[in-house]
């Protein structure tokens, strides 16, 4: 049997994961003077080589469709997105319980999913921290908006977010760079919104419209999801990891798949055992404190797989809460055809990645058929032609020949897509656990997901569909989307996990009986263990989580730093 090498070196902190949470922790802790080691399950990223900025589809062998056209069904498999993540990773399965169908998008690369995320950067509102007090469902957070606001300020100032001050209670203003001018598609949707009195305001995206901290301003190619070679949008790999490395106090170990957190005889976390993917050997790294930032479900998996005499149900899981309270966002999409866009003169429509305007939650002042809220995103128009764009046209027009070719051109740029993204309330039937029978290629037991939408989410999806239709029709368009009212996905509600906002699997709270972490993301049962990614969330309001992950991880890291300096860890 191979000897596992137990190194003598003990780091101050070991961070597991290099995405939003891990990057923020690395920056704060190293700049605070601590000696940090970071484990990343994937490979290093080289933006200049790996990101496909400015690439035309015809410059790629498969026109972007991916090997065998895999990208048609999995956007992670397109050549534009590679190598940033996928719904499936060879050799690393996950399973779903009976009657459940959960999809899990994972990245194995430095920076994780921040390399390609939508850059939507919305602050939670005051009410989002007080759900139970407000409507009796779910739970309140142990912290308030006021606790987090200074960290939203720090994060926005550092990473750069464009937006505008609007004084909307459901969408607090932040520190914003000027927003870009609206595209034609944005203006059309706004016209519809104005008619039916729905607010439509500049979007808030982590894309810099002015130079920030030595990063060049956006050049408006509209390709943020491919990764930005000039780092003009936020990714952990380009904005947080480099300054942490610059301190000389970050040791980044890539291709290191964390398997288990080991505890010493007194029950205190003391080392991480990981698999070196390149040599397929087990290694260990020792530290005084641990920051789990591997993504909500990976961090839960790591805690659950860290069984010891002190923690027979998994580290920090005596109460069985780890893996529970899993949520994603409610999502349903729609699209409209706008004949007036056929006459639009050709022009550069690219802009930034993502929408320039959006619809914040506006029905917070009335009683609705469902609890909580949602926002609307939209896009379309004269975007760069890509594979898959004309499939619907073929179905609609049928036929072939010159007429078909011309109709495709008339139709190009005339469709605007919309997306509703809303809050899911945690329920008993939605959670993840360790599958008792399946391990991945590294020998690590995998997650099994259980997922169910409740009536509240279905009613919200119905409202989204009705609103998208109303806006598109008010704007002079034809609503193209048809959804069933029952069955597998009523009102087009997406599968659990598909919005890639999975959160809540090691939630924070005041009571050690019903939560895993305190308000500083510190485990109740293991003071030197912190979970600063989406696992710590108590609720998942309609504000895409990355900005809040950054703020929470920044805040937790400052606390960790303070505690470490006081010798409390």
């Amino acid at each position: 049997m191979l000897e596992i090498i137990r190194p003598a070196k003990v780091y101050d902190v070991c961070i597991i994961g290099s995405g939003a949470a891990g990057g923020a922790a690395a920056k704060v802790l190293t700049e605070g003077g601590l000696d940090v080691v970071m484990l990343e399950a994937g490979s290093p990223v080289n933006p200049a080589k790996d990101f496909k900025m400015f690439t035309w589809p015809y410059e790629l062998a498969h026109r972007g469709a991916g090997v065998g056209g895999d990208g048609y069904n999995d956007f992670g498999r397109t050549e534009f997105m590679a190598p940033n993540g996928s719904w499936t990773i060879e050799g690393e399965p996950y399973t779903s319980g009976p009657g459940s169908n959960f999809r899990w998008f994972r990245s194995r690369i430095v920076g994780g999913r921040t390399n390609h995320w939508g850059r939507i950067a919305l602050r939670f509102a005051e009410v989002d921290f007080k759900s139970r007090s407000t409507d009796g469902m779910g739970d309140d957070w142990p912290i308030t908006y006021q606790d987090l606001a200074p960290y939203y300020d720090k994060v926005e100032s550092y990473i750069g977010v464009f937006g505008s001050k609007e004084n909307i209670p459901s969408a607090p203003d932040g520190i914003f760079l000027p927003p870009p001018k609206p595209r034609c598609s944005d203006l059309l949707i706004k016209k519809g919104c104005d008619k039916i009195q729905i607010p439509c305001v500049p979007a808030r995206l982590a894309i810099i419209t002015r130079p920030v901290n030595g990063r060049a301003a956006c050049h408006y190619c509209g390709q943020c999801d491919r990764g930005c070679v000039t780092a003009s949008n936020f990714s952990s790999s380009q904005v947080l990891i480099p300054p942490a490395l610059a301190t000389g106090r970050l040791h980044l170990i890539t291709n290191a798949m964390a398997r288990e957190i080991l505890v010493d005889a007194s029950g205190k976390a003391s080392a991480v055992s990981y698999i070196d993917r390149t040599t397929k050997t087990e290694q260990q790294v020792r530290a005084k404190s641990f920051v789990l930032a591997a993504s909500a479900c990976e961090s839960a998996r790591l805690l659950l797989n860290s069984k010891s005499r002190a923690f027979p149900r998994g580290l920090a899981n005596s109460n069985g809460v780890v893996g529970r309270y899993l949520v994603d966002s409610v999502g349903t999409d729609g699209a409209g055809y706008f004949p007036q866009l056929e006459k639009m003169p050709p022009h550069n429509h690219d802009g930034t990645g993502g929408m320039h305007l959006y619809v914040p939650w506006w029905k917070y002042d009335r009683k609705n058929e469902f609890l909580r809220g949602y926002h609307l995103e939209f896009g379309g128009g004269r975007v760069m032609p890509t594979v898959g764009q004309f499939n619907g046209v073929g179905y609609q027009f049928q036929g072939y020949g010159s007429g078909f070719k011309q109709r495709c051109r008339e139709k190009y740029g005339t469709v605007i897509g919309m997306a509703g993204r809303g809050e899911m309330i945690p329920n008993e039937q939605t959670y993840c656990e360790i599958d008792p029978e399946v391990v991945d290629q590294w020998g690590i037991p995998v997650l099994r997901f259980h997922f169910k939408w409740s009536e509240n989410e279905i009613k919200m999806a119905k409202d989204m569909q009705e609103t998208m239709k109303a806006i598109i029709e008010a704007a002079g368009g034809t609503y193209l989307t048809r959804t069933a009212t029952s069955g597998q996905n009523p009102y087009g509600i997406m599968l659990g996990g598909e919005i890639i906002h999975e959160l809540g699997t090691a939630r924070m709270g005041n009571s050690p009986k019903t939560s895993v972490l305190n308000g500083f993301c510190q485990a109740h049962e293991a003071k030197n263990v912190f979970v600063t990614d989406g696992a710590c969330f108590v609720t998942n309001p309609d504000k895409n989580p990355t900005l809040t992950i950054l703020a929470l991880s920044w805040r937790a890291s400052e606390y960790l730093l303070d505690q470490a300096k006081k010798g409390n860890l």
Partner: protein, 197 residues
Amino acid sequence: MNALSRRDVIRTLTLGTASSSVLSMIPLQAAEHVHKMIREDKSKSSSGSYSPKFFPAHQYKTLQSLCQTIIPADGESGGAIEAGAPEFIDLLTSENEDYQLKLGGGLLWLDSACRDRFGKVYLECSSTEGKEILDLIAYRESSNQDPNLVYGIQFFAFLRDLTADGFFTSRIGISYLKYMGNEALPEFLGCPPLPEP
């Protein structure tokens, strides 16, 4: 900037990302420059001949003919063949068993259907005969008259989607659509005046 070779620029970029003292950031002009050079390299290396990876010669010729019929050349641009659509389709098909079944099987179905009707394979049919069979399988409604056409209709719909993708993601297809963009702008100009509906 023009004096720099592509390798120089790439090396600069790589150094930039490897050196941990700065944010991995490169000047906008450098990114543009790399982009332009990559494009020039590609245009130099494009060769006229292509050896199909999946389809045998006869089937590949049939595929080419169908693609060009779906999106023909006209006064404004070349057609699907000039756009490289058959190469794109052949490459994906060589890697995907489902495509092999749909397209390989579909092409054989088409030749059989032509043999039944006209006593010869599709490529040997006259233009009138070819049009007659395509006019049947290019429309879903045809299956109301003859349920046996469903196979052909499904095949043709699948091929039409791939041909459109192949054409409209090509250099000539993108230019035919008059897409403008994929370049670095100092400022985004927004929407020109919207025409009245």
